[in-house]
Assembly symmetry: C2
Homo-oligomer: 430 residues x 2
């Protein structure tokens, strides 16, 4: 029996992301009774509102009545290969225009298998690592983007993120550093609202400054808008793409949180024209690339998401409102439980942030928050969390953990925080 060289395979597992999900799932499966603050999973309450057939029928009805297809043509859409660009681009385009102030025509969108495929496609289309292209990411940062960059062999440089988002001076410095080394900072990944895991949020002024810097230093911005919907009502800020007059922003979104992750439907807005090819957009290039990654996003999934959008009058905001309220409640509950339960009780050197949105709280410990400590936390205290190391490019995450509150109810959050308090007390209290 041939044995594959681990070195060759291991090369494909570069980047902190790869394998981390598997590791956490494995720990969770061994401690089914533990309260897990680990995954950013959706709240299970919303599964009750999901009637797949009803959503599909609503979408087919739309194809027939609004798009003039015959019932047979509409049904075939679910069955056949579809356009690699997507089936629901018109609905998504209209929702983005109305709810996010993003004015992009349907042909400037590609519907992807989650935001993850969008990231992979965009990186592959834009970067030539052999020509010195570098990707800047916030540090800490969503492990899916560094993982995708790793798979494509794209070098990554980190720029600090604080609670007000990416450090713009640090980003400017990264541009200069790249140039001095004969390289070019081709694009920068940011999540302007409540990043995972940092929880940072950029002010309107900083959003403008980021776009000016992108123009001045000639880079593109990959905006990940996954958690924007959790913003408190009345506090919304325009996404970078809505402010983008220079075509600097590629906007990536997902229905994983506002609808459900199992659909695996995301999208990318890529309205940049391709020089010398009249009428051709970056979205066309992404759609062509998609034909050799997944061919097209499952029409069935798109139909369900399309149906859910239609049921909410085509509005992302209406669709996401009940979820946003529950996740805000959960996050407030987690922060309050930490404040009430841990303040004054745990060792010096334990601290946590208090983000106003998103799914995640970060906690700093005076000891390494590693797999060994997680094992003790799970086995002896019945509480799980995510080591932050996987979200950092260097060792600065080694003493931090991430707590997610999205899929728990308040009583479980309360009990989980009490277990966490006991764990911190006994294991690192001295």
């Amino acid at each position: 029996m041939v044995r594959l060289s681990p070195s060759r395979l291991h090369d494909s597992l570069r980047g902190p992301a790869l394998g981390a999900v598997g590791f956490l799932n494995e720990v969770m499966s061994r401690y089914p009774d533990a309260i897990s603050f680990a995954p950013g999973a959706p709240h299970p309450r919303f599964v009750d509102g999901l009637d797949v057939q009803r959503c599909v029928d609503r979408f087919l009805d739309h194809l027939v009545h609004d798009r003039g297809e015959t019932p047979e043509q509409a049904r075939l859409r679910l069955y056949e290969y579809g356009p690699s660009r997507g089936l629901i681009n018109g609905l998504v385009s209209e929702a983005l225009r109305r709810d996010e102030g993003i004015d992009a025509p349907p042909q400037a969108l590609v519907v992807t298998v989650g935001a993850q495929e969008a990231m992979l496609l965009v990186l592959r289309a834009l970067f030539r690592p052999e020509a010195g292209d570098v990707l800047a990411v916030t540090d800490p940062c969503f492990a899916g983007i560094t993982g995708a960059a790793g798979v494509l062999g794209i070098p990554v440089t980190g720029v600090d993120e604080t609670e007000t988002g990416i450090d713009l001076e640090g980003l400017a410095a990264a541009c200069h550093r790249a140039r001095s080394a004969g390289r070019h900072l081709r694009a920068c990944y940011v999540a302007s609202d409540f990043s995972n895991p940092g929880g940072g949020r950029m002010s309107l002024a900083d959003r403008q400054r980021l776009l000016e810097l992108a123009e001045r230093e000639d880079f593109l911005v990959l905006e990940d808008n996954t958690y924007g919907f959790t913003t408190e009502r009345g506090q919304e800020l325009p996404p970078l793409k809505a402010l983008d007059t220079g075509g600097r922003v590629i906007h990536i979104g997902t229905f994983a949180k506002v609808c459900f992750p199992g659909a695996r439907v995301g999208y990318v807005v890529a309205d940049q024209p391709v020089a010398g090819r009249p009428g051709r957009l970056l979205a066309d290039e992404l759609a062509a690339l998609k034909t050799v990654v997944t061919v097209n996003t499952p029409p069935l999934s798109q139909a369900v998401i399309g149906g859910l959008l239609l049921e909410h009058g085509g509005s992302l905001a209406a669709l996401s409102r009940p979820k946003a309220e529950l996740y805000r409640r959960n996050l407030a509950h987690l922060v309050s439980a930490l404040d009430r339960t841990l303040t004054g009780r745990v060792a010096p050197g334990v601290s946590w942030n208090r983000p106003a949105g998103g799914f995640f709280v970060r906690m700093r410990l005076p000891v390494p928050a590693d797999a060994a400590l997680l094992e003790i936390s799970a086995a002896d205290y019945g509480v799980l969390w995510t080591p932050m190391a996987q979200f950092h490019l260097d060792d600065r995450g080694d003493h931090q953990l991430r707590l997610s509150c999205s899929y728990l109810d308040p009583d479980r959050i309360e009990t989980g925080v009490r277990r966490l308090a006991t764990f911190l007390d006994k294991e690192i209290g001295q």
Copy 2:
């Protein structure tokens, strides 16, 4: 407005595959009344048997009654992120064991977004282009594999395919050539039964010889089994993976043809152990890679496919039988119509093959079968086909076209062939 450099983008469009699908769709959309022999689309008759809700319910029922889950747990499976390895691995593993003689446990499988994602994952896990790894493919060959190799920067070498499959002497020579150039032929892509577009089929003896050569020359075989199900009953040969005692074969399959393409569900059997990591298989590495490509295959799609399998007693053969019969009938009809209509009537230099399975017939012309000729065929004669150039690594496809018969009914095939005859008569008959 920033304009993206076409050269950079164009680099991402290397390989003949990219853009070809878009081009054909565009031509087809301009000539809606033409009879199209272009796409390998499924026959629309089978959409009538597809009841999404019934399939999903059947799968959920299986999770509850056969796997001991609660109804709530089962429903959540559709809603949540799932394991990147897949949800229906047990069903697929059992079907492959029973119907194909492939003995691989569920954990040796990864369920992918179509066969296309499987190809991308396998290539990325196995190849290090910088270390001199080369991929061999049959020539002509499915454009999805060369497209995926192009996206990953993997060099490709072609080996002739005849009606008896890949030229084994040519393959041995390619191994030697690579070695002489300081490179290594890491893997070879073949479709042992009725390849797209070649229509070749390997004998049992040649299958054994290919495996011996793989052992001797130390390469892996990527087996694409998309069209095996169209084999006439009683004429089945074991797939390469069923003959593979040395762990040389990675087997890729899809439900696109035996169920429906819109589901976007494929799979890969990768049971090769990873040296020095006890218990770890290539499938584990592929599943880890998948977390940064699509995260997981949509559970809804998997549930529909799982439900269809269960409705057919878990048998791929039972599931595919009605489709296999229809596609064989169509192919026989196409070949017979060509023989009846064209023989003796068209110019010397026009010839076609007569495969016993698959979806495709190839035709050779004495003139280039290019986009310009396709335009004439569509506009003036109302018949469409696929230029073969996209399936070849060199210019040997330039005078060939591919005819697909999968989604047409016999009367349309008949009319289409008559139009083709007139087209050939008038345009290249002189």
